[in-house]
């Protein structure tokens, strides 16, 4: 596929590892870059809204996108409390991009998943969610064919008019490995973003999310070897069944509640 005249911008953020909470290359953003590279190769532009942090770990995280083979990442410098969407929108309005790629949801910060929607709204572009692939772009008719992820591994093929914003799903192709050398040598091109203070978030109240209770697996093993086997054995399925009819369903639920000692 040669899309030499296509302008594709991929937005990247600093991710956060779910268990260690360390900054890292965000998984969906990395997939967006992978998709962009497949589409336009070295013509892919990459944009990050924010400063290069003094924290070496934040920097390493951002650089790991460069390690995928990008020559540079454009930085749109803005203070931390600024409203990234407005800053990005103002910048992107001048870019005439055909396709803007983002992740579905950031791994850190507000992580609301609203960015692609609000951005599309600001820019007056179409918005496609949970894209796994962009199959083809017809530059003459200004139309693209994209594959969208639906639950349970289903896919839907859509035709979208250019320009559009697409959020890239976890089901998209795995991102290539980030190599240390290119990551260290890649460049940041900084431009100053507009000043747009975030009006809303200071008014919000935040509390930590609560962990959902999880049923403990009871293992009746006596020896360490047995415990080991129980822990590593594949859970044998077959517990679930499909019940039709109101009576039967109610009965099945009741049975379960009795079994669990809840009624």
């Amino acid at each position: 596929m040669s899309n030499d005249n296509l302008s594709v911008i991929s937005l990247v953020s600093i991710g956060e590892h779910p268990t260690s909470r360390r900054p890292r290359r965000a998984e969906q953003d990395a997939r967006a870059i992978e998709l962009g590279l497949k589409l336009v190769g070295n013509n892919l532009q990459t944009l990050h809204a924010g400063q290069v942090s003094d924290d070496p770990r934040q920097q390493t995280a951002l650089r790991s996108y460069l390690g995928m083979g990008l020559a540079e990442i454009n930085l749109l410098e803005m203070p931390e409390q600024a409203d990234a969407i407005l800053v990005l929108a103002e910048h992107l309005k001048q870019q005439n991009s055909d396709i803007i790629l983002t992740g579905v949801r950031a791994e850190s910060g507000e992580s609301s998943g609203m960015l692609p929607y609000l951005l599309a709204e600001q820019l007056g572009m179409a918005m496609v969610t949970s894209v796994t692939d962009i199959l083809s772009v017809d530059e003459v008719n200004k139309q693209a064919e994209v594959l969208q992820a639906l639950p349970r591994g289903q896919r839907r093929k859509l035709k979208v008019d250019l320009p559009f914003v697409a959020s890239v799903d976890m089901a998209a192709a795995l991102p290539r490995q980030s190599a240390f050398g290119p990551a260290m040598r890649g460049q940041f091109e900084a431009t100053l973003g507009g000043i747009f203070a975030d009006q809303e978030s200071p008014l919000w109240q935040t509390t930590d999310a609560k962990k959902r209770p999880k049923r403990l697996k009871i293992v009746k093993a006596k020896t360490a070897a047995d415990r080991f086997k129980a822990a590593t054995a594949k859970a044998s399925g077959g517990g679930g069944k499909v019940v039709h009819g109101v009576e039967e369903s109610a009965q099945a639920i009741l049975d379960l509640l009795v079994e669990e000692g809840l009624v």
């Binding site: 590892h17 268990t19 260690s20 360390r22 890292r24 290359r25 390690g67 995928m68 083979g69 290539r176 490995q177 980030s178 190599a179 240390f180 050398g181 290119p182 260290m184 360490a224 415990r227 080991f228 822990a231 590593t232």
Partner: protein, 653 residues
């Protein structure tokens, strides 16, 4: 002019010309090596060449008695003859003594060459054919020609014996012999190994290896360099290029390589020959040894400034290696295959981001969580929730300590249920012997072994620096660990980054405790048992005795496997091989388990968590796999040490 006068004049011209050509060839060869990157020149090593040849090299060659005697006769005879020939025919010293000496040395060489010939009549597959099959004939022709030539000069035969016919035959023989032995030495003939080999012994990149020394740690690279790792032959250090030229294609490395035996596309001998092809330019069509399993010879080519991977050598070849060092240990020329392989892997990982298999995932996990499987770093100590371990730290409320006699290095076994059993056994044993020990707890990171061997030097250095920084906050005398990979890193590889410690493997540490009677073992065990030497304990660190001593202290008579100690076959678990998972015809652990079964042992004792996993991964029925610490715990007589022990074991602190 008589035929003898003609011969002596002819020889003067011929040998002088041959020496000149040899010299030109030598300069060309040196220029080839000098394309490499700079590296310390160990000039003084050059003086050590004779010693290193006679002691260190022959120490390896002598594992094959037949070959070592043959080589002494042939090489000794040749070196002596060559010197005498130059003195007699170039400098024309007319000393009778020299003539007699030449008679003797050429005879010695001739005898040697007969044995070379016999060996090559039915050459085993690890020997190269082609030009190497010609060599014994050349040796014979050379030695015989000079022997006959010298006979008249000693007065045994009248001069001009045989007349012009013999003179003609001698001329042909001498041209052949000198061509192979002098000219061929620097123009890429089989005798190249003598020229390059001698210099390589002197200028070896790891000078510490000689005189029974050891040098097995990988060398760090500067991460700010413009290119990380080796992409093209010229990216090797010059002395690595020299080392490749020293290879005699004896195939001992091939014989010992587990990946080759398993049918994975790696043959260390061919790899070294490919490096020579890369350095000098050309293709591999003339290679006359065993191919990389599954890859046809003659399909690859290279050059000094042509990238190696996937042009000269397939990437699968590099990633098949378990870094077991069996090749290095077996190589009489002391070539460092593992260094070369890791150097090329570094480029693949650090510059191209092409670590195969699960490499990418594992390396990302190491970056994000300091352990290869991505477990939360703050769950590292979960396995020991019931162990009441003393942890190093500065929080007095949590009873953390800043000082202990022993730092027990846990390693990633912390996340593995099988190896947690070994850890528990070790802790019980340490307590039984009343050892004052503490652990780093959640602050411990993976040692970096896996990352480094997967070529990710950046990750290695980060992990190592983090561990060094943590450990430098505390006082301890010894680090003890059950993981030979961590043991090797801490002992041999952290030093370059500023971490110098006294490190012991648990078997070494326990052997000392048993010696001092601080641990008493029931020595009535009658177990049908064999012991598998972990590569990183044995070949990397020379520890073969402590594990055996411990097993014998339990009364076990070890049923040694045929390949044990320095020639032990790898379990397949090192060097990230399980991560890259390059397919072959068989699995290495299955082959090792077959070695075990051959001894009729019912238990195979191991001393490494990785070996444990690899060997337990072999389908049953198979012998049981147990760490030496587990066996020791079974044999422990608990009542030592006047009641203190009971306290420690029972109550904790």
């Amino acid at each position: 002019m008589s035929s003898s006068e003609f011969l002596s004049q002819f020889l003067f011209t011929l040998i002088s010309a041959a020496l000149l050509l040899t010299l030109i060839g030598a300069v060309k060869r040196v220029l080839l090596w000098s394309q490499g990157q700079s590296s310390t020149v160990h000039w003084r090593g050059l003086l050590q060449i004779p010693r290193r040849y006679l002691v260190d090299l022959h120490h390896v060659v002598a594992r094959d008695k037949y070959m070592s005697n043959t080589h002494v006769a042939t090489a000794g005879g040749f070196v002596l003859s060559a010197i005498l020939i130059v003195l007699l025919y170039v400098f024309q010293l007319q000393l009778q003594l020299l003539t007699w000496a030449l008679l003797g040395s050429s005879l010695l060489m001739f005898v040697g060459s007969i044995f070379v010939m016999i060996r090559r009549r039915n050459p085993p597959p690890n020997l190269s054919l082609g030009k190497w099959q010609r060599l014994p004939k050349s040796l014979m022709v050379f030695s015989l020609s000079f022997f006959i030539l010298t006979l008249p000069a000693t007065g045994i035969l009248p001069s001009d014996t045989g007349g012009w016919l013999l003179a003609l035959l001698l001329v042909i023989g001498i041209i052949w012999g000198i061509g192979e032995m002098f000219f061929g030495m620097t123009w890429g003939g089989p005798m190249k190994h003598a020229f390059a080999g001698a210099l390589h012994l002197g200028l070896h990149r790891r000078q510490d290896r000689f005189g029974d020394g050891q040098s097995t740690g990988l060398k760090a690279i500067d991460l700010t360099a413009n290119k990380l790792g080796v992409e093209k032959p010229v990216d090797f250090k010059w002395n690595q290029l020299l080392s490749f030229d020293a290879c005699v294609e004896c195939g001992r490395c091939e014989n010992n390589c587990p990946a080759f035996a398993a049918g994975q596309p790696l043959n260390p001998k061919k790899l070294i020959q490919d490096m020579v092809i890369g350095m000098a330019g050309g293709d591999d069509a003339k290679f006359a040894g065993s191919p990389y399993p599954g890859i046809k010879v003659g399909t690859h080519k290279g050059g000094a400034i042509i990238p190696i991977v996937n042009i000269l050598v397939e990437s699968e070849t590099l990633w098949s290696c378990t870094t077991c060092r069996a090749c290095v240990e077996a190589c009489p020329m002391m070539i460092e295959h593992v260094d070369a392989i890791v150097d090329m892997r570094r480029f693949e990982t650090l510059e191209k981001g092409q670590t195969p298999g699960k490499g990418n995932e594992i390396l990302e996990n190491l970056s994000a969580t300091d352990n290869p499987n991505g477990y939360a770093p703050n769950t590292r100590m979960n396995w020991a929730a019931d162990q009441n371990l003393t942890v190093f730290g500065h929080n007095a409320d949590k009873q953390e300590v800043t000082q202990a006699d022993v730092l027990l290095w846990i390693g990633d076994a912390a996340f593995d249920m099988r190896n947690q059993r070994t850890l528990r056994a070790i802790i019980k044993l340490l307590r039984a012997a009343n050892v004052d020990f503490a652990v780093l707890g959640d602050a411990e990171c993976d040692s970096g072994d896996l990352a480094r061997r997967l070529g990710d030097e950046a990750n290695f250095q980060r992990l190592a620096n983090s561990n060094i920084e943590t450990m430098n906050q505390y006082n301890f005398n010894t680090i003890v660990t059950a993981d030979p990979h961590a043991f090797h890193c801490l002992k041999n590889e952290y030093g370059e980054l500023g971490g110098n410690y006294n490190v012991l493997h648990h078997t070494g540490f326990f052997a000392e405790l048993v010696n001092q009677q601080k641990l008493k073992l029931d020595n009535s065990k009658e177990l049908a048992l064999t012991y598998h030497d972990p590569c990183y304990l044995g070949r990397y660190n020379g520890e073969y005795d402590a594990p055996r001593f411990l097993l014998e202290s339990m009364g076990v008579k070890i049923k040694e496997m045929q390949r044990s100690k320095s020639t032990a076959r790898c379990c397949g678990g090192g060097g990230g091989a399980p991560v890259t998972d390059i397919p072959g015809e068989q699995r290495i652990p299955d082959m090792r388990m077959a070695d075990v079964t051959e001894t009729k042992a019912e238990i195979v004792a191991v001393a490494c968590p990785q070996c444990n996993l690899m060997l337990e991964g072999v389908v049953e029925p198979r012998p049981e796999v147990k760490d030496i610490a587990e066996l020791m715990l079974d044999a422990l007589i608990e009542s030592t040490g006047e009641g203190v022990v009971a306290d420690q074991v029972g109550g904790g602190s």
